[in-house]
Symmetry: C2
Subunit: 392 residues, 2 copies
C-alpha cells in the first residue's frame, strides 16, 4: 500500500478561503523549528501580538492567535464569555450566524435568534428593537463579513448598540480583517475573532482573537469554569502573557506561527489603509468584468464585501461542471454556494494576495471559456477591458 510524498499543483485560489498564499509566507513555514519555550520563539510571539494589535486596530492586551482554525476562535469567544443560563442575541444572515447559535446552546445558554435574508447585511434597526424588547441579554453576536453570502454588516453601528444597551459584543471578523476597515478600539468591540487564511493570505489553521478589558473582566468574574480547557483564555493568557515567565499550556504550532508572523509583517509593510484600498479597487475591477459577462451579484450594492463576491450562476450553466472545468483547465478554484445558496451561486474571493489584477484577468478569461463551452455566448476580451478600465 506504499503511499508516497504529496506534491500538489499550483492552483490560483479565488474561493472563500484559503486564498493564495504569498511565496514569502510559504517560505517562512519551512524555517527551522524552535522549541516553543525558546527565548527567540517567545520574542516572535511578542512581535506577533504587536502586529495583531495593529491588524485589529486595538491596544487590547489580550490579543493573540488561537492555535486552531477560525471555528475554534469563534468557540473561544463564546465559551469564555457565555455561561449556562445566559441569553445571547444572535444575528443570522448566513451560515456563520447559525454556527454561533450552535455555540451558544452548547454553552448551556439561550440564543435569541434574529434572522435577516441571506445576502443582505444585518439591520441595526431590528437589532435595536430586539435589545429593547429583551432586557436580560448578556451578549450581542454577529458576523461582520459573512463568508457564505458576501454581505458586509455595519459593525460600528452594531457595536455601538451593544454599548448603548450595556451588552457585550462578539464579532466574527474572519473574512473582514485586512480586507475592509476593522477598528476594534474605535468601535468598542468586546470579543473579535478572525482567521489566518482569508485577507492575511496566510495558510489556514490559526485564529487571531482580541478581548476588550470589559470582556476580560467578565471572563475573570465567571461563576463556572470555562468548559473548554484548551480554549480557556485564563490559561492561554498565562502562556502568551507579556514578557516574564511563560506558563506551559499547550505546544504552540511553531512553524504555522512563522507563517502568520510573516503575513502580518507584510500587512504592516503595505499598510492597513492601502490593503483596504487594494481590495476595494480589485472588487471594482472584478465587478465591471462580471457585469460585462452579464453576471449578477447576489448582495445589493453598498452591502457587498470587496473580498468575497457572491454571484448568481447564469441560467443554463452547470454549477459543478463549471467549477471542475476551471480547476482542470486553469488550475483555478472558485467557491460553491453554501446552505440555502448551494447550487445557485458562486463565491469569488479576492482576498489578500488573491486580490490582484492578474487573478481577475485569469478568472474572467476562464469563466468566459467555461460559459462558451456550455453554449453561452461570452466575450472575455471585453470583460477584461472593462475590468482594466474600471481601475484606470
Amino acid at each position: 500500500m506504499a503511499i508516497s510524498s504529496f506534491h500538489p499543483p499550483v492552483r490560483t485560489l479565488m474561493g472563500p478561503g484559503p486564498s493564495d498564499v504569498h511565496p514569502r509566507i510559504l517560505d517562512a513555514l519551512g524555517r527551522p523549528t524552535l522549541g516553543h519555550l525558546d527565548p527567540l520563539f517567545i520574542g516572535m510571539m511578542d512581535e506577533t501580538k504587536t502586529l495583531l494589535k495593529y491588524a485589529f486596530q486595538t491596544s487590547n492586551e489580550l490579543t493573540l492567535p488561537i492555535s486552531a482554525p477560525g471555528s475554534a476562535g469563534m468557540e473561544a469567544c463564546f465559551v469564555n464569555l457565555v455561561e449556562p443560563g445566559d441569553k445571547v442575541l444572535v444575528c443570522v444572515n448566513g451560515v456563520f450566524g447559525t454556527r454561533m447559535i450552535e455555540n451558544v446552546t452548547r454553552c448551556g445558554a439561550t440564543a435569541i435568534r434574529l434572522d435577516f435574508p441571506w445576502g443582505t447585511a444585518v439591520d441595526p434597526v431590528a437589532v435595536e428593537a430586539a435589545l429593547k424588547e429583551h432586557d436580560d441579554i448578556k451578549v450581542l453576536a454577529f458576523v461582520h463579513a459573512e463568508t457564505s453570502t458576501g454581505a458586509l454588516s455595519d459593525a460600528q453601528a452594531l457595536c455601538g448598540l451593544a454599548k448603548k444597551y450595556q451588552v457585550l459584543s462578539i464579532v466574527d471578523a474572519v473574512t473582514s480583517m485586512g480586507g475592509v476597515p476593522l477598528l476594534v478600539d474605535e468601535w468598542q468591540a468586546d470579543a473579535v475573532y478572525s482567521g489566518s487564511q482569508k485577507c492575511l493570505s496566510c495558510t489556514p489553521g490559526l485564529s487571531p482573537v482580541t478581548f476588550s478589558d470589559a470582556a476580560v473582566a467578565v471572563i475573570k468574574a465567571r461563576k463556572h469554569p470555562v468548559q473548554s480547557w484548551f480554549l480557556d483564555m485564563n490559561l492561554i493568557l498565562g502562556y502568551w502573557g507579556e514578557g516574564g515567565k511563560r506558563a506551559y499550556h499547550h505546544t504552540a504550532p511553531v512553524n504555522a506561527l512563522y507563517g502568520l508572523h510573516e503575513s502580518l509583517v507584510m500587512l504592516q509593510e503595505e499598510g492597513l489603509e492601502n490593503a483596504w484600498q487594494r481590495h476595494a479597487a480589485m472588487h471594482t475591477a472584478l465587478a465591471a468584468g462580471l457585469e460585462s459577462l452579464g453576471i449578477q451579484f447576489v448582495v445589493p450594492a453598498g452591502q457587498r464585501l470587496p473580498q468575497l463576491n457572491t454571484i448568481y450562476i447564469p441560467e443554463g450553466i452547470d454549477d459543478a461542471k463549471t467549477r471542475q472545468y476551471l480547476l482542470a483547465n486553469y488550475d483555478l478554484e472558485i467557491g460553491a454556494g453554501l446552505g440555502v445558496l448551494a447550487g445557485k451561486v458562486w463565491r469569488i474571493g479576492l482576498m489578500g494576495y488573491s486580490a490582484r489584477m492578474e487573478n481577475i484577468i485569469l478568472l474572467l478569461n476562464a469563466l468566459a471559456a467555461a460559459m462558451s463551452e456550455q453554449g453561452y455566448s461570452s466575450d472575455a476580451a471585453s470583460a477584461i477591458a472593462a475590468a482594466e478600465a474600471a481601475v484606470d
Copy 2:
C-alpha cells in the same frame, strides 16, 4: 515600530518536544496551498487516514488528525465520550494525568483520582482494585508515555482491565506513537490521541486520534450534545468521512497536514518496528553515556521511555544556567522539569529524527562542557565512547 521577517537559527531539539523536524517535512510545509475541498487535497486526507491507521496499528474507521495540538486531541476524547454525571477513573503519575482530571470536571463529570509516584509507571494492580471498588465507572483514562516524567505504563494491561470491567479506555499516546509499541487494535483501546511533534518529528499543531467502534457507538448514543462544536466527532467525521461528499466543518490546516503526511510516509518507509528499535538503541547509547558522566535516571529501569530520558540534575549544577549554556554555545535545547520535578531534573528527548547518534554525541559533549564550566569534573570523550560501545 517596524517588525521584520523572523529568521530562526538552527537548533538541535532534545527536549520533550517539538523534536528535530526532518528537512523533508520542513520542505513539505511550504508546498503550494490547495483549497481544503480540492479533490487532490481530499485524496491526501484519505492517504493521511490510511497512514495514521498504520501508525496506530488499527483498522478503526474513525482515525484522523484533529486540527489543533495534542491538548485539543485530549479534549476531543473526553468531551465526546464523557457526559455530565459520568464517573471517570483517572490515573495520575505526572502532569498530563492532572490535565485529564481538568478535562473530566469541565465535562460536568466526576473524576476518581488514582495517584502514583511521579517517575513511576501506573500500577495495574491498583487500577484493578479501583475498578472493583467502584462499579459505576464509565471510562478509565491514563497516560501511556508520561512526557513530564519519562515513565512508560503498561497500556496493554490497562486496556485489558478496561475490557474486563467493561469500561471504556482513553489513552494518552502523545509521546508514545512511533517511539514504542502502540497496538490499538490488539490492546483493544477505545480512544487514543497523539501529537505530531514527538516521535513523528513533524511540526507541532496536529493531534492524531482514533476511536474504536465501541467508542463511536457511545458517541452516537449520547444524551447531551458534545459541549465543543469544534471537537464534536459527529461533525468532524462528516468532514473527514471516507470518499463521497465532504460536509464543510472547518477549514483544515492544509500546509500543516502536508507536513504530517510526509512524516507518516517516512514512518512507513522506515517501518514501525524499525523505528521502535532505533529509539530503543539510541536510549541505550544515551544511558551509557550519561552513566559515564555520573548522571542518574529518575525512572526505574524497565519503566523508562527510550524517547524521553528524565535525569537528576547533578548536585551543585545550576539548572537554568546549564540549559542557557547549551542553547547559547551549542544551539542545543533540553527540557526543564515540570510540576513537582521542576528544578530537580532535566528531560532529554530522543524523539523521531532527534533519535540519532549525532545528537547523542553533541549532547554528551555539550553537557560535559557545561558541567566542567561549573567546576564539575567530567570526561566527554569517555562518555561518548561508552555511548558508542553500547550500540556496537
